[in-house]
């Protein structure tokens, strides 16, 4: 047995020791694995390790998202917040920039200038805005000898770091050859790498017979830039056409020409300059409009000024004619400053109407001050002489003062005797009066007395004239008495003016002694009404005829006689001055 064990040990010990080592390694795998992965990640097999881990790591991440969501959320929280904030900030910045650009291009002088440029050049406004707002910069310009790929000239933007221009030019040439060869175009074929884009960077390669021009651009280049570069390359070929001294690598005398022709800043500026007139579709009407508009405004202004001047002259002329047509005025000169002042000079009688009356109504048009410069003068115009006579003689209201064309003063009407006596002494001395006619002027005192006396007489006669009625009757047939009463009343009313009295008629009805008062009072009233109606029918004014009360004039008496069975009229005389 012992030999068997010894034999067994001899045969299997190495195997058992290997198994023990494997088990120990397996047990220690969790502790050794991180170090092993780190070593693998640093070693040559790092890429292989990454490929091997890609699928299980993705699967583990998926399982973690499904089963341990909160853990994933907690782990990503510090990353997601800043990322979202950065994205929002970028979006807001873009929005703000766009908004500012829109505002600037719409409301600022620059925007108006761009619009004018668009009108002038015939380009759409959007294209002009893009041309001015899109930023494009030439980072590098390489003039490369076509045969060797060597750099003839290199120009770069000022803030860019130095680079191996020869290596880059060589690689560009090599890549161009590579592209041409890949497309099986052959060495002499015209096609080649003309442009390439990487992100915001752009490469243009412009080929020439002996040299190529490579431009590294950033941003969006204006369309004219490519043409500018082509022209620069053509110019270089034309100016430096000696293959031995011109476009050869290392030709020192060509350096200045290269630098002048390939200045990035100058090329950029030339590319954004507006196109020359005639190169694009031009629209001359905006320019014509710009020229015609001021002319039109001048014409409108001139027409308006002409109309205003015409209106002003009409106003001045009208004012002068009104002054000339007014008696008592002698107009010698009219001066005016349009829309500022009118000056009227001449002579004016003090009895002429005041000149302020000419200012109304105010004519339409501009405001202007009107100044009157009149010297005093005595006018012989009949109207002014009459006004002067009225002012000097102060006639009473019932006296009419007139002056005829021969300057003869006419006085008519009634006036106090004392005034008449005075005016007969003064009237001839009124300036401008050549004679006085006072034949129709009579003293008002004597006429009034006579009129009043006649009125008293007429009242007495009326008291005796009665229209008789039959007993109990309210209608009469006494035409003779009625006619007599009407005649005297008509005369009395005519004398009211000369007498200076107000004349009215009071109509009385009467009754005899028979009957009581209840019967007689209506009877008296009826008889008075009959007489009034008859007088109105005879043509006398109704307003001058009123019914008189018995108490007022004819109180009934107990001894009424036949004549009391009648109706009659008495006069009521009141001072005219007492009742206006």
């Amino acid at each position: 047995m012992a030999e068997f064990e010894r034999l067994r040990a001899l045969l299997l010990d190495p195997e058992r020791q290997r198994l023990d080592a494997l088990e120990a390694a397996r047990d220690g795998l969790p502790q050794a694995l991180p170090a092993a992965l780190e070593a693998a990640a640093r070693g040559a097999d790092a890429e292989r390790l990454a490929r091997a881990l890609a699928e299980p790591v993705a699967g583990a991440l998926g399982s973690a998202v499904r089963e341990q969501r909160q853990t994933i959320v907690d782990a990503l929280f510090p990353i997601i917040g800043p990322a979202i904030r950065k994205a929002i900030a970028e979006a807001l910045r873009d929005f703000t920039e766009g908004f500012n650009r829109a505002l600037e291009s719409s409301l600022t002088p620059r925007g108006l200038r761009w619009r004018l440029e668009a009108w002038r050049s015939g380009l759409p406004y959007a294209q002009v805005v893009l041309r001015h707002t899109l930023r494009c910069r030439i980072d590098h310009l390489f003039l490369i000898e076509r045969e060797t790929g060597l750099v003839l000239h290199h120009a770069a933007a000022p803030d860019l770091p130095d680079l191996d221009a020869d290596a880059i030019a060589g690689m560009l040439t090599a890549i161009g050859d590579f592209v041409r060869d890949s497309l099986r175009l052959g060495g002499g074929a015209a096609g080649s790498l003309a442009s390439a884009t990487v992100g915001e960077h752009l490469l243009w390669v412009i080929e020439g017979p002996r040299a190529n021009l490579a431009a590294f651009l950033r941003g969006v280049p204006p369309p004219a830039l490519h043409a500018q570069l082509e022209q620069a390359l053509e110019r270089l070929h034309a100016e430096l056409d000696n293959p031995l001294q011109g476009l050869q690598a290392g030709a020192a005398d060509a350096g200045a020409a290269f630098a002048a022709a390939l200045d990035p800043g100058a090329l950029e500026r030339a590319a954004v300059q507006p196109e020359r007139p005639g190169r694009g579709p031009s629209r001359p009407w905006p320019l014509l409009l710009a020229l015609l508009l001021p002319l039109l405004l001048v014409l409108v202004w001139a027409a308006w000024r002409g109309r205003e001047a015409q209106r002003w002259q009409a106003r001045v002329q009208s004012l002068g004619e009104r002054v000339r047509a007014t008696p008592g005025y002698l107009l010698t000169a009219v001066e005016d400053i349009p829309c500022r002042e009118i000056v009227l000079r001449g002579a004016r009688d003090p009895d002429a109407p005041p000149p302020e009356g000419f200012l109304a109504p105010r004519p339409p048009g501009c405001e202007a001050a009107v100044r009157f410069e009149f010297q005093p003068v005595l006018s012989l115009a009949p109207a002014i002489v009459a006004a002067r006579a009225r002012r000097l003689l102060a006639p009473p209201p019932r006296v009419v003062v007139e002056v005829d064309a021969a300057a003869r003063l006419s006085l008519r009407g009634a006036a106090p005797a004392a005034w008449i006596a005075a005016v007969r002494a003064q009237a001839a001395w009124v300036p401008g009066v050549s004679g006085v006619d006072d034949a129709d002027l009579h003293a008002s005192d004597a006429a009034r007395g006579a009129a009043r006396a006649e009125l008293a007489r007429l009242d007495g006669e009326l008291a005796g004239l009665r229209v008789a009625f039959a007993p109990g009757g309210t209608g009469a047939d006494d035409s003779a008495a009625l006619v007599a009463i009407a005649e005297r009343l008509r005369r009395a009313l005519a004398l009211a003016g000369p007498a200076g009295l107000q004349v009215r008629a009071a109509i009385h009805g009467g009754n005899d002694a028979s009957g009581n008062e209840a019967v007689n009072a209506p009877l008296r009233r009826a008889r008075a009404e009959w007489l009034r109606a008859a007088l109105v029918q005879a043509g006398l004014p109704a307003e001058a005829l009123q019914f008189a009360t018995d108490d007022a004039l004819v109180p009934p008496t107990a001894a009424a006689t036949l004549p009391q069975r009648s109706a009659h009229v008495r006069l009521i005389l009141e001072d005219a001055d007492a009742k206006p």
Partner: protein, 166 residues
Amino acid sequence: MTATARKVCMLGDFGVGKSSLVARFLRNTFDEKYLTTVGVKVDSREVALDDGRSLKLVLWDIAGKNALDALNQNYLRGATGLLLVADGTREATLRTVLGLLMQARSLLPEVRAVLLLNKLDLVERWEVAPSTVAELRHALPVFETSARTGDGVEPAFAELARSLLP
């Protein structure tokens, strides 16, 4: 342009150490991947000579091939100098680079060439016999170089630059 520039192409078989020599001598502007994609990698260096003159060498490191195809012939266009590289431990690479030289001379009759026998640090394994090297020196400048240690690299480039100066 501070110095006159010359285009120099580097030719040689696979694995002879061309890229290592470039890495030793030049600034390595571009990544090695261009060699496998475009088939060429361009670098430059200004070489100062003992006499005070200098020359900028623009070196086109052309991917190793047995023969020049059409694309590589395009890459050779305009070159005034050749750097021929062979692996001293593999005599076959010497025959290849000499074949490339013959092909290049048919395209560029006036081209100047320098031969670099590389991997001098493994000189004990060299297959190229010294007598062969001595024979080659009659035809063109030969330099034994080591990209690993840098031995012989600078003189080889300097010699080429000197031969390219006008």
